[in-house]
Subunit: 378 residues, 2 copies
């Protein structure tokens, strides 16, 4: 991929990036609420009618990982529906700019969108909780919370006012902390650090004395190279290698404390979705679930090879944040998330739900996933 | 659930428990090979024909977690196909015993099966690699290997001789090491340990001086209570609480080194699958993918609450294996897997593929998933 074209089309940080759907606030729906409700509300299947739908995204077409998911949904829905539901995917800027996906689907300009919920914090602060919370849930955990911990019902409730139905649209897994031209050996080194880091992570950086910078994707590489910024986060090896960031920075820091499992979203225009026959509603709902897993599979497989290339071919130097820095980032991350929770009663309910889930899953994963990974590298 | 009924029906260890499908050895198929091939080979969709299929399983009907997945596949396939493909689920022993699922689907007695590949090691030693390898891949990692690391193509090749198409059928996540009435403080304590532990884990135990015991599920609880065995592995808190094992053992050990992400399998009779219309093939393929993720979501959410109940209400004592024991188990696990790899050229190719993937994903996850989980609990 041509980097220039990619970043121009992107306009927003891919590195700044949730999910399934119910039709009303009162539905008590499980992970298949959309189809469940669909089965009640959807019209009887009309086998003769063909639907031609649009899907707008916040990424350039076929951006590695993120951009592959909507194309995949389009393909598998066409296969499963025997061509009755055709979805044409549009990259950022083709119909609407990257950051107007939410409005475009809400208003019915497009039937489906693929984006990241945290872009919509201006409309609903709680949306951020459905992408990633610094020091929050991993990909496996956020899927558990969404589908069996009450997360999805809350997300539907949040988007219902906008005439939207959300579903999980993929996950990047734990990201990298980012590309740095300044070595971080203590908390003191974070003071004054000019870093392009959007969302909640940026708020955390500000609170510990850093300077979060907002930059369009197109200016990021040069800003890093010329020293206008000291650091930037992006995604992980698979995307970062394609973006060429190793050419503009000395150190590649980990772990990605700010986005420990960034969830993407599919959003559907509620009125259009509810007017579909029940079988097509089910195909969309379960198709999204399949695509949601597929993206994590892509990242899990492709980050490995990309990391090897970065380290062995491009001599990238890996660095881990000192414990002192990680502990402070964690403490401040909790304060920032708590602050957002106070913006509305629904935001508070969402915050309480995700934090209750986190409290217990951290304990269980300490003796399962975490204990196992550590035993493997003893 | 009545435990007596459950264990009687089970007959085999649920705790001893792998996935998408291609139709020929020469197909170069991605994660959707089955539907891809299906689209070429499947007959034109006949909207009038209704298919009534059977699905036999190795579990009692609706066993928590494992037994929920086939019911879920049946339900979502019915929804997506608008009733054209109806799948009736049979528990272990209803049509065929738990350990005859493979043969029943291979011979066409049943069109679909849900089981664990490692039960079929007598037919193909490599099958074990598609459930879990001691000190091998986690759930996230095995999904990456299968769908984007070449694993699935190899699994299809392995099962092709039996007229079967395999697909991933869920994952338990990292399991617990098991229930013990003897404390393990050193390698010496593993000598002579009589433990019910099937599969590769049992081989490893034998090599370090323990005594792996094979016991039908129905005798397990009493054997543990009376001291006939010192320990048993099962699954994790969600299943173990339902099974009541805390009543028969003093200590609950972690981590589950022997099954760090046990994958279940859906198996399809190849001839029957290929005769389906292409859209129904796609619905099965992507439906399996959705169910595969769903099971992990169930375990991720429900193990937490079950662990809290075990510890707080039943005073279960958690114990971690000493590092000395874990290191030796890891060393011997590699020897056992390597030994199996030498049984046939195909087995060797499968072993080489999974081990190559593991080599790189361990490095990447050391700085992502693992580093993050550790930072979260610093």
């Amino acid at each position: 991929m041509k980097r220039r074209k990619f970043v121009a089309a992107l306009g927003v940080g891919a590195g700044a990036l949730a999910v399934s759907a119910c039709n009303s606030k009162t539905d008590s729906c499980g992970p298949d609420g959309a189809s469940g409700t669909g089965a009640q509300n959807g019209v009887m299947a009309d086998k003769k009618q063909t639907y031609n739908w649009k899907l707008v995204t916040s990424w350039p077409k076929n951006l590695p990982g993120l951009g592959e998911a909507p194309e995949r949904l389009s393909r598998i829905v066409k296969e499963m529906s025997d061509g009755r539901l055709n979805i044409k995917v549009y990259g950022a800027g083709e119909i609407v700019p990257a950051l107007e996906v939410f409005d475009a689907v809400s208003s019915g300009v497009s039937e489906i969108g693929h984006s990241g919920a945290y872009y919509w914090k201006g409309k609903a602060p709680a949306a951020q909780f459905f992408t990633a919370i610094p020091f929050g849930l991993t990909a496996q955990e956020i899927n558990g919370w969404l589908h069996y911990g009450g997360g999805l019902e809350l997300w539907r409730e949040l988007y219902d006012d906008f005439g939207l139905i959300p579903m999980a649209g993929g996950n990047t897994g734990v990201q990298m902390a980012g590309w740095f031209n300044k070595e971080i050996n203590s908390l003191e080194d974070m003071k004054g650090l000019k870093m392009r880091i959007p969302g909640l992570g940026g708020e955390v950086l500000r609170k510990i004395g850093g300077v979060p910078v907002t930059l369009p994707g197109g200016e990021l590489f040069t800003a890093l190279q010329t020293g206008t910024i000291d650091a930037t986060e992006w995604v992980g090896p698979y995307n970062d290698l394609a973006f060429g960031l190793y050419k503009a920075a000395k150190y590649y820091y980990y772990p990605g404390w700010h986005e420990p499992g960034a969830m993407l979203e599919f959003i559907f225009n509620k009125e259009k979705f509810n007017a579909l026959p029940a079988d097509l509603q089910a195909i969309l709902t379960h198709g999204c679930r399949a695509v949601n897993q597929d993206m994590l599979d892509v990242y899990t497989a492709k980050n490995n090879d990309a990391l090897v290339t970065l380290v062995e071919e491009h001599n990238v130097q890996l660095r881990k944040f000192p414990d002192e820095v990680l502990k402070e980032l964690r403490k401040v991350s909790h304060e920032v998330a708590l602050g957002i929770s106070e913006t509305s009663p629904l935001t508070k309910r969402i915050y309480d739900s995700v934090m209750k889930f986190k409290g217990s899953v951290v304990n269980y994963h300490a003796i399962s996933e975490q204990a196992y990974l550590n035993a493997r590298t003893l």
